[in-house]
């Protein structure tokens, strides 16, 4: 009875893993599509304020980020604990915002430039004086669309 030959004994059939790389690659591409690269390393401490009426920011390429907060502990010795501004990877002064915005604008596609949104990521304990200065600087740089970054409040 060749057909029902059990002479070989039972062996666990081995799991075919030849398609595993393809699966992982598909997953990888998915992750690459839905996420963005973290562009900057944070140098200021930033805890988002909380709010409920949030709107999602669309089109990541149109968003410029501004960080406001106290310097991280490792920079305290040089920078002190006063609230600072971070543009890209560096600490910056309010006066540098204008140039930064102009630079960001010029790196965009021309038709996209009017839709540029500046997301202000400020620590929740920041004093409004700094924020007001930032807002004035943004107005002068004609970056009028802004968004106060916040996290969803859980009740």
């Amino acid at each position: 009875m060749g057909k029902f030959n059990k002479a070989g004994g039972r062996e666990m059939p081995e799991l075919n893993t030849s398609s595993l790389p393809d699966l992982v690659f598909a997953f990888l591409f998915f992750i690459m599509m839905v996420t963005t690269m973290r562009e900057v390393t944070l140098k200021v401490q930033f805890r988002a304020p909380q709010a409920t009426e949030l709107q999602k920011l669309e089109k990541k390429s149109l968003i410029t980020f501004l960080y406001v907060g106290e310097p991280m502990p490792e920079f305290r010795e040089q920078m002190g604990t006063a609230t600072r501004l971070q543009l890209n990877d560096q600490f910056a002064e309010i006066s540098e915002i204008k140039d930064y915005i102009a630079q960001e604008k010029s790196s965009m596609k021309e038709e996209d430039a009017p839709f540029m949104t500046v997301s202000i990521k400020a620590d929740k304990e920041t004093e409004m004086g700094v924020i007001t200065d930032v807002k004035q600087a943004l107005r002068e740089a004609y970056a009028l669309k802004i968004s106060y970054s916040a996290s969803q409040k859980v009740n």
Binding site: Q50, A51, I120
Partner: protein, 195 residues
């Protein structure tokens, strides 16, 4: 000859590991969270040579919301709690009883709705001190947004049976025309005190 030459197959067992490493790298360096926030539009800058003449707005059309450095809220010269602010704003924008001291109503033609009496010229003027905490500023901004959202949602429910979010663009525009969001973040002023 003795044997045919075979091209040796490339050993593919480690490609899964390589793909996993790539995956891990991207998982760690990228952020999934979508940025959320309260969108606002800043007014264009005032030219330097312009004399400071504020646009004259009738007093009844303005709701002044002031946050001081102790994070207390003053709404039209009345000291109020943050929880009351939303209803205050809704009442102000809606002006249900045609109050003399609330914004005047203007008749405008809105698509889908026809002629509506709308408090078109109202302005909510948000002022803050330099020492105000950012969180309380956001709280107030949030309450203002919530007031507008509730008004718009109510109207959308009544007219279209849907939430404002779910309307199409034309309908959204119409609803926005009935309740335009007019929050003015005033020019910074110093209200005395140090700094």
């Amino acid at each position: 000859m003795a044997k045919k030459r075979k091209t040796p197959g490339i050993n593919g067992t480690s490609s899964a590991d390589i793909a996993f490493m790539l995956l891990l790298f991207f998982l760690l360096t990228s952020s999934m969270d979508t940025d959320k926030g309260l969108p606002r539009l800043l007014p264009p800058p005032v030219p330097k040579d312009q004399v400071d003449d504020d646009v004259k707005i009738k007093k009844r059309n303005i709701l002044v919301v002031l946050i001081n450095s102790q994070n207390q809220i003053l709404c039209n010269n009345e000291f109020i709690d943050i929880k009351q602010l939303k209803d205050k704003v809704k009442d102000f924008v809606l002006n249900p009883y045609n109050d003399e001291h609330k914004p005047e109503k203007v008749e405008i033609d809105v698509p889908f709705f026809g002629n509506m009496m709308v408090t078109k010229n109202h302005v909510i003027s948000l002022q803050n001190d330099r020492g105000t905490q950012y969180q309380s500023y956001i709280d107030v901004q949030n309450e203002l947004a919530a007031a507008y959202n509730e008004l718009r949602n109510d109207l959308s429910q009544k007219k279209f049976g849907k939430l404002f979010m779910d309307l199409d663009d034309e309908q959204k525009k119409a609803v926005q025309k009935v309740y335009p969001q007019k929050i003015s973040e005033a020019e910074p002023k110093n209200y005395g005190g140090a700094k």
